[in-house]
């Protein structure tokens, strides 16, 4: 895998601040860093309101970035584009078009030079992929929420995006439908290898679906708290994954991360006090002062890299 593929998506020092009528702008997200490998599925988990959708919308180019960078396949994101397809909790289908018509809308835009026959094939291929071969000519009102969401997914994937951005796509579905759709998406991704970010509130889903789980800290100033690598092979089956001890370890780790985040908020940072605190702890007034060089000051040396400092100078 080339270096570009291992850093297919790079989110660097991402900040989102909203104006605050009462004072300084509020940084909802601050210092969010994440690198995603090509073809990986990253699930994002964190407490409600921490800023998951905010990050996803900045990746989609639908919410302006305050500072920092999002780079997808070497291109800096500066607005929405067909290379990043978004699926929300509610499918937002056009009610006057059938599922076929809804998918065709995007296909026409994405393949303007394809023949009518080719476009027809493409639409049918993707509707078939999401299991709607028999419901191509149904209108949204004639379909269940799960079926509508399948149309939304087919519409997104038919664009052949570099990145799929899914914001709680199963959030409104009952658990059986949800599991069904999870497997549909995993099947599709096994075939199409689209780099995907999936926001979820469901711990099991976060582990089962992911190559990596990105856990976000509570806002304001939310950022990545840690990333968990999920080593289960693909293609996966639910039975295999959920019978593995590691599944329970990873799950427990996620839950305790969320529980801990629940209890500790940014205000819990050691209180800035010039006085010695109780329990034998002394904390200087400025926790992270300005003369500490920021990240830009030092490069990270790859472990085991032969070009690391000190190498070659010691023999």
């Amino acid at each position: 895998m080339s270096n570009n593929d291992s850093r297919y998506v790079e989110i660097v020092n991402l900040v989102k601040a909203y104006p605050n009528p009462l004072g300084d702008a509020i940084k909802v997200v601050d210092g969010y860093n994440l690198t995603i490998k090509k073809g990986d599925l990253v699930t994002v988990i964190g407490h409600s309101g921490c800023g998951k959708s905010t990050v996803l919308m900045m990746l989609a180019g639908l919410n302006p970035i305050t500072s920092g960078d999002v780079v997808v396949d070497g291109r800096v994101v500066d607005g929405p584009g067909p290379d990043r397809a978004v699926v929300f909790q509610a499918p937002c289908l056009l009610p006057w078009l059938t599922s076929y018509g809804n998918v065709m809308l995007g296909v026409k835009r994405c393949y303007p030079h394809a023949s009518k026959k080719d476009r027809d094939d493409i639409v049918k291929y993707y509707l078939n992929l999401v299991g709607l071969a028999d419901s191509m000519h149904k209108y949204p009102r004639e379909m269940s929420g799960g079926m509508q969401q399948r149309v939304g997914i087919a519409r997104a994937i038919a664009l052949k995006p570099k990145m799929l951005l899914l914001d709680e796509p199963f959030g409104r579905l009952d658990s059986l439908t949800r599991m069904d759709l999870q497997d549909t998406i995993l099947d599709i991704l096994d075939k199409e290898k689209i780099t995907t970010m999936l926001i979820t509130h469901d711990v099991d889903e976060a582990v089962y679906m992911a190559d990596r789980i990105c856990m976000m800290t509570n806002g304001p100033e939310a950022r990545v708290g840690q990333v968990l690598n999920v080593p289960f092979e693909r293609p996966r089956t639910r039975a295999d994954v959920t019978s593995d001890d590691l599944f329970f370890d990873l799950r427990a780790s996620l839950i305790s991360f969320l529980e801990k985040n629940e209890k500790t908020r940014p205000g819990d940072q050691p209180a800035p006090a010039a006085q010695p605190l109780d329990q034998g702890v002394y904390e200087a007034p400025s926790l992270l002062d300005t003369h500490a060089p920021r990240g830009g000051g030092a490069d990270l040396v790859l472990a085991g890299s032969t070009s690391g400092p000190g190498q070659g100078t010691l023999n």
Binding site: R7, P231, Q279, Y282, A298, L300, G310
Partner: protein
Amino acid sequence: MFSDSHLLSPTTMTDLATATSTLLGAAELWRLDTDGSLSLDTGLYGSHHALRDSAADLRLASGQGLAGSALAAGRPRLFDDLASVAAPGRAQAAAHNGLSAAAALPRFHGGKITSVLVLFFRGGGDACGGAEIWSAGEGRFELALGECYHAGACLERFARISKYVNFPQGAGLPGRVWEHNCPELVPDVNASKTFLRSSGDGGRELSVGLGLPLMAGRNLQAVLLLLSSQTTPMARVHEIWEPSADDATTLVRRHGVYGSMPDFGHASDDLSFSTRNGGEGLPGRAAATAEPLLTENLDDLGIARRDAARNAGLTSGMAIPTVITDTVRYVTVLLW
């Protein structure tokens, strides 16, 4: 450099040593000689006489022993199986003293290693805590767990999960140390928003967490995490000193964790150490030379807290400067 063993009578020493057993059991500073080999500069052994004796007259070539392995690798190493790396007889000596793991941390100057600091960690018995080296994983701009030592069944699950954890810049304690190139102390990892690695039931026993940036020039090579538990803290005192904002030649305390020794903490309140003229005390001298420093002389902790140190039964002190392109930014002090 070893002076003043008279400061503590043998009886008080044993009494207090059994009161709190630290995970840090011994430390050695190995210096690179002109012929490219390493010789022992100083050592802190407490009652670990076998380990002290095993170091006598030892010279280590690059690749030999703990310090030599770090020298050859050109990066920090951590060994949880001393027998396979330590110089002949030393693993047995360490084991005899209940020491089962060690970290070897090279110190760089002008792109070259000038010394290697070796830390020995206890194992077995009630030992609970750990040391971890976090460095960049293959192709990823994130920190991943490299060599590590987790003592005690209490950390079994924590250790198992940690293998799967990565930290981007700014994430978690290692990510913050990387972001700021600044050592960071977390007094209670269970109550901290900075330390979020958790593994269900695993790791509840942990108390103090210390993250140390391991620098080579202006590059961060790795982050060393030292994890304490209530029963076996890494050291009894953790401190971070930094040049004062008003006077860069005076070190003032940035952060201190004193656990069960608040008196010693209070005695430290108005303390500062000059770095002029060779430097004053443990942190001042370490800053003046930009080299790690080991001492058994309680005067080095500051005259103002010598008595408190003696009352608390402290015997050993270690200072580790964080040097970024030839400037000492912080001095981390561990006392036990």
